[in-house]
């Protein structure tokens, strides 16, 4: 085992396991689950081992195809600090979620299919992490989209699940189109798609700042789609139709972080295009605040967490936009993966206890029925809300500090979003676990089996402690803004935000039987979904109707029907030459030969 081979083993074990599960899965559920677990476990163990290995020289890179002298596509791995950390996050979270899924999916149909999908997802995600060039990353980027589609649509017989899968796929396609254009622009400008070569050749392009800015913003569109930033965030809440482990692993901890990871990967390029970074920061900040607003009025326990995810991803994107090193955003990605995964697992545990009820106003009083889940949820919530000295506190505050220093307006905006975060998550906590039981199911809820609790407990520890300074130093090289520059008001304000949000929530929701406040604007997600719906129905629908008309009457009739009928008519006419008399054929043949002779002579 060497540092050369380990990444390849990490990458391809999940693919092999996905294939094996699809082949053999129908024989045994245990076999499918253990195959998936073995693959994830191998990846996890190797990632931890690899993290402490020095990187020796250039990594192996295989020629894939050569498209002329200009474009040589390779399949290769990058193994630097960034990808090592991301490997750790992805594989470790995967193992925990896989274990949790053993319990969560125990009575579900499509058990093997589910684990095959998870393995395929893991393979694609690891491909993004390890890719050493844009083309390979793009391929795995799309593979992640496919596995996400498969997993969201796991209950494909349910219309809403199938539609959510389609929506996720199509919305991502919009972002990916920009991403692809951006890759092409960069390639056109530098003649390479390999990250290391790109970063070397970028200073030569700094002369054309507008060109580079456009390319970077187009690439950022990939992030907007995959990391669910405004205005392409609509798919993420709907993707909660998938099984909860999927929401936890893909739509909270890892896959949606791929966009942020990709930005971190090209951070040296972004550094020399300040305009692009400013746009990135604004989109991140606005997303962060708007998603937090939307989260305050949802009643579906998973959707609240989904909007929270969008909001937290907004922080990370903002971090890329304002901080001088990508590690600031990666640090938040790291802590967010821990506590958001935990929150989703806890929510899944509640759902199982509630027989798949997701409306929190039908729950209540679960603290006595499911105490372990409640404690786990509570710890994850503290980290998310930024309770002092939990992991989320360290990472989020760092981003807010940088934002306040660089773009003050955005900084104060996301500081307010931190207050909203505390408010909406405590609201969920109080409504679900406190008060009186509001339905039959809530009265008879039971605690979950050990396979589900253990991953949650592990994640709880991580959620609280993953941000401690010695861990920060071990995994990241963080840079803090100068003390002079940070307003002295900021930290007290953040404390106030946390306690204020939590307190207000407690005041309003601690014993509420129904929501005491109602803001339709937020409940309806700022009406963005409605705008899209209107757009798709009227404008895009009209275009589709026109194209369908054109297809039927122009393509089908003129291009397809006319030549086909013409050919048929010619064939019908020529059939009368088919006399069945060989001498007639000989006559035609002879006439042809003589005609040819005359043509030859006359030349």
């Amino acid at each position: 085992m060497s540092t050369q081979t380990a990444p390849w083993i990490i990458l391809f074990t999940p693919l092999v396991s996905a294939a094996l599960i699809l082949l053999l899965g129908k024989f045994s559920k245990t076999l499918s689950a253990s195959l998936a677990l073995i693959a994830a476990g191998t990846g996890c163990a190797l990632s931890w081992w690899l993290f402490n290995q020095p990187i020796d020289g250039k990594m192996l890179s295989l020629n894939w195809m050569s498209l002329g002298p200009e474009l040589n596509l390779t399949i290769g791995v990058t193994l630097d600090h960034l990808s090592k950390v991301m490997l750790l996050v992805v594989t470790s979270i995967s193992v925990l979620v896989f274990i949790y899924s053993l319990g969560y999916m125990r009575d579900e149909e499509g058990y093997s299919r589910f684990f095959a999908g998870l393995s395929l997802f893991l393979f694609s995600m690891l491909g993004i992490v390890l890719a050493d060039n844009f083309v390979m990353m793009f391929i795995f980027w799309e593979l992640v989209g496919v596995s996400s589609y498969i997993l969201i649509g796991h209950y494909y017989s349910k219309d809403s699940a199938a539609d959510a899968g389609k929506q996720a796929f199509i919305v991502n396609r919009i972002g990916d189109f920009g991403f692809m254009l951006g890759i092409l622009l960069l390639w056109f400008g530098t003649g390479t798609v390999v990250f290391s070569e790109l970063i070397e050749s970028i200073p030569g392009l700094a002369m054309a700042p507008i060109y580079l800015t456009v390319a970077c913003i187009l690439i950022f569109m990939g992030t907007i789609g995959k990391s669910a930033q405004m205005p392409l965030h609509v798919w993420l809440p709907n993707s909660m139709e998938g099984p909860t482990p999927v929401s936890s692993l893909l739509h909270a901890a890892t896959m949606v972080a791929a966009g942020v990871y990709m930005l971190a990967r090209i951070f040296p390029i972004l550094e020399i295009v300040p305009t692009a970074r400013e746009i990135i920061a604004w989109i991140g900040g606005i997303t962060c605040f708007a998603a937090a607003l939307m989260a305050t009025q949802q009643s579906d326990i998973k959707r609240i967490l989904a909007y929270s995810t969008i909001s937290q991803l907004g922080y990370m994107v903002l971090g890329i936009g304002v901080a001088p090193t990508s590690d600031v955003a990666m640090f938040h990605l790291f802590t967010h993966a821990c506590f958001k995964c935990l929150l989703f697992l806890a929510a899944g545990s509640v759902m199982i206890a509630m027989h798949h009820e997701v409306d929190m106003w039908h729950m209540g009083g679960l603290r006595k029925k499911t105490p372990v889940t409640m404690i786990c949820f509570f710890l994850g919530m503290l980290a998310l809300a930024g309770c002092p000295y939990t992991s989320g506190y360290f990472s989020k505050d760092l981003i807010i500090e940088w934002a306040v220093v660089k773009i003050p307006f955005l900084g104060w905006l996301v500081a307010a979003a931190a207050g909203l975060t505390a408010f909406y998550i405590f609201r969920e906590f109080f409504v679900v676990f406190f008060g009186k039981a509001r339905s039959e199911h809530a009265e008879h809820a039971k605690e979950q089996p050990i396979t589900m609790l253990v991953p949650m407990l592990i994640l709880s520890v991580l959620a609280i402690f993953a941000g401690l300074p010695f861990i920060q130093d071990h995994f990241f090289k963080l840079v803090r803004p100068d003390h002079e520059l940070v307003p002295h008001l900021l930290h007290p304000l953040l404390y106030a935000m946390f306690f204020g949000g939590a307190g207000l929530s407690a005041f309003l929701y601690f014993k509420a039987r129904k929501d005491p406040i109602s803001i339709p604007l937020f409940a309806n997600r700022l009406y963005i979904d409605n705008v899209y719906f209107w757009f798709v129905n009227n404008i895009q629908g009209g275009g589709a109707a026109f194209l369908s008309w054109a297809d039927r009457w122009i393509v089908d009739l003129l291009v397809v029907q006319v030549p086909s009928k013409l050919t048929w008519a010619c064939g019908f006419a020529l059939r009368f030459l088919q006399l069945g008399n060989i001498q007639a054929y000989a006559f035609f043949f002879g006439a042809g030969v003589v005609g040819l002779l005359y043509i030859l002579i006359s030349k």
Binding site: Q578, G580, F587
Partner: protein
């Protein structure tokens, strides 16, 4: 002395007679004989060309004769197969007249 043109004219006439036989006769056997005449006309041309184009050593170009040899061989094979087909056809239809063999048509 006969010239190359003489040989070619005779060859062409023989070919024309063979072609006429193929086009006009209705007995499939006679049509077959017409085909043989046409092959022979081609042979005559080839041998004449071979004789009239001497090589550097003053001998005829034997490549032409080798080709004729091949044609004769193939013709022998063709006659054998063709006649076998005619026999099979006669067994099935009890006729050798091409006008009666016209089921392959629209």
């Amino acid at each position: 002395m006969p010239t190359l043109a003489h040989y070619l004219i005779v060859s062409g006439l023989l070919f024309a007679i063979g072609l006429g036989g193929v086009l006009l006769r209705r007995n499939i056997l006679i049509i077959f004989m017409g085909l043989e005449l046409m092959l022979n006309a081609a042979n005559l041309s080839l041998v004449a060309f071979s004789r009239f184009n001497l090589l550097a050593d003053g001998m005829p170009n034997y490549n032409g004769q080798v080709l004729v040899f091949f044609i004769i061989t193939v013709a022998a094979a063709e006659v054998a197969v063709g006649l076998a087909i005619i026999v099979a056809l006669f067994r099935a239809k009890q006729t050798t007249h091409v006008e009666d063999l016209n089921t392959l048509k629209f």
